[in-house]
Symmetry: D2
Subunit: 163 residues, 4 copies
Amino acid sequence: MIRIFVTGGTFDKQYNELAGTLAFKDTHLPEMLRLGRSRVDVDIRTLMMIDSLDMTAADRGLIVEECRKARETRILVTHGTDTMVETARALADALPPDAGKTVVLTGAMIPYAFGSSDGLFNLGSALSFVQALPAGVYIAMNGRYFTWDRVRKNRDSGVFEAT
Amino acid sequence: MIRIFVTGGTFDKQYNELAGTLAFKDTHLPEMLRLGRSRVDVDIRTLMMIDSLDMTAADRGLIVEECRKARETRILVTHGTDTMVETARALADALPPDAGKTVVLTGAMIPYAFGSSDGLFNLGSALSFVQALPAGVYIAMNGRYFTWDRVRKNRDSGVFEAT
Amino acid sequence: MIRIFVTGGTFDKQYNELAGTLAFKDTHLPEMLRLGRSRVDVDIRTLMMIDSLDMTAADRGLIVEECRKARETRILVTHGTDTMVETARALADALPPDAGKTVVLTGAMIPYAFGSSDGLFNLGSALSFVQALPAGVYIAMNGRYFTWDRVRKNRDSGVFEAT
Amino acid sequence: MIRIFVTGGTFDKQYNELAGTLAFKDTHLPEMLRLGRSRVDVDIRTLMMIDSLDMTAADRGLIVEECRKARETRILVTHGTDTMVETARALADALPPDAGKTVVLTGAMIPYAFGSSDGLFNLGSALSFVQALPAGVYIAMNGRYFTWDRVRKNRDSGVFEAT
């Protein structure tokens, strides 16, 4: 059983056609897993639905606490890419490797609701890394995985890089 | 560096609008990796472009031989789902774990060119498993991985299951 | 009120993922009209779900009879492109201009269920021509309309041309 | 030959993945016409690339002037939906029916770059109405056409209605 915590991010942004703006409504995770014909046993919980630039210390504290409390040892967190590294660091502080938990954060550069999204690829990737990697906190983006302390988002290219 | 061998399968079927039939043309792998914003270092080679029901012993022998010869130790094979298990078995015979190679086969139930394809999810998944799993031959489908000798395709549901 | 008769054709082909073949199931018309946010008052009836190459004289007779009987004076027929011109001719024989009916046939080169379909464009086009054109039998394809007696499908290019 | 003037609007909004916002870049019109396999002879010119809420009297004056000067008698204008009716009015003032020009404005509620856009349907519709309607200024939305003086956008439902 894998726990999935949804926190929002570009992944789940959609177009509000009356307002003409991007907004959050419900998570697309169940629909994405259905499209991917996933048969992985998952339990999805939405913790928040926000842009990661708007994430406060309290929000981050909640994510950490939920990961700490979760009975599952394999946890996937969907997250905006802009502060994903910061949340990964907070998680690593609270969940050292001997906590026995594998936590993988992922997100998307393009909303899933857009035809050209990287979201489905990233979800397939993160869901696989979380099953196969040893205990630790990781970011899965661009088809790769990074340990929490050796990664940064290159804001010019939008790509995650090893540091 | 990861080696990707393309063999066809539903993954790469497309609609021939003049004939009104499904057919193979070029592989969609590079386009899919671009959509997924993959930064994994890969070398893609198309070995054949066929329906896996049409795969002969000679075709299978070629796949095995190419995997055996490849200098890369991590190899992804795209393949039709109908005889994927059979090819996995042939690969396992030729590449015992002490050969030090991780080979992951994947495919799709719906062609990538269709809007509702599972292909992008599967590619993200297989590309991640091939990076994270130890030496051996595996099938990555439905968000899960299976060792070659403990998997079958359920033809009624279209889902891969552990045996 | 516009009457829509569905007869199948590439428009409505979908991928049967267990068989790995193209097949008909339900029509996509209601979903397409919803996606187009259509507010045109329509009544959709499925007469048959077949490839137009398989259409018999009896099938064609049924389409003609239904168009003749329909109380609506504006009728849209979805149809496979291969024999669309032949059905248009049969309709024109039974519905001379003084019958006061505008009948527009349309179809698609790529199934709607494929991401790259021309179907939504063609549906928007045909639905508009059927509202604006005078009584007569027409084919709406490639963004254009043709009277039934001055059109052919160019089988090499897949494009409808004036004759 | 049909003249197409592009002015922006939701039609052409796309997702800027580095900024995480909606923005204009190039028009999607040529790509959309290609997808629709359109063989209508068109000449596309981009006049501006703006949200119609940001459209000034000067912008509107430019659109009117370009339509007035155009040698083509059939003109399609893509436009944001919020002030489409206002631009239609300005066009009707400058182009009375005896000017002999058919001008059709259209737009979209969802950007074309989104998978679920109504844009392709609307383009097929508007391109057809502009070929079939007599001289005058019209709005083509929701599969219907409206003369410029008998239409409003219902801001609660996002639907264009006759007045």
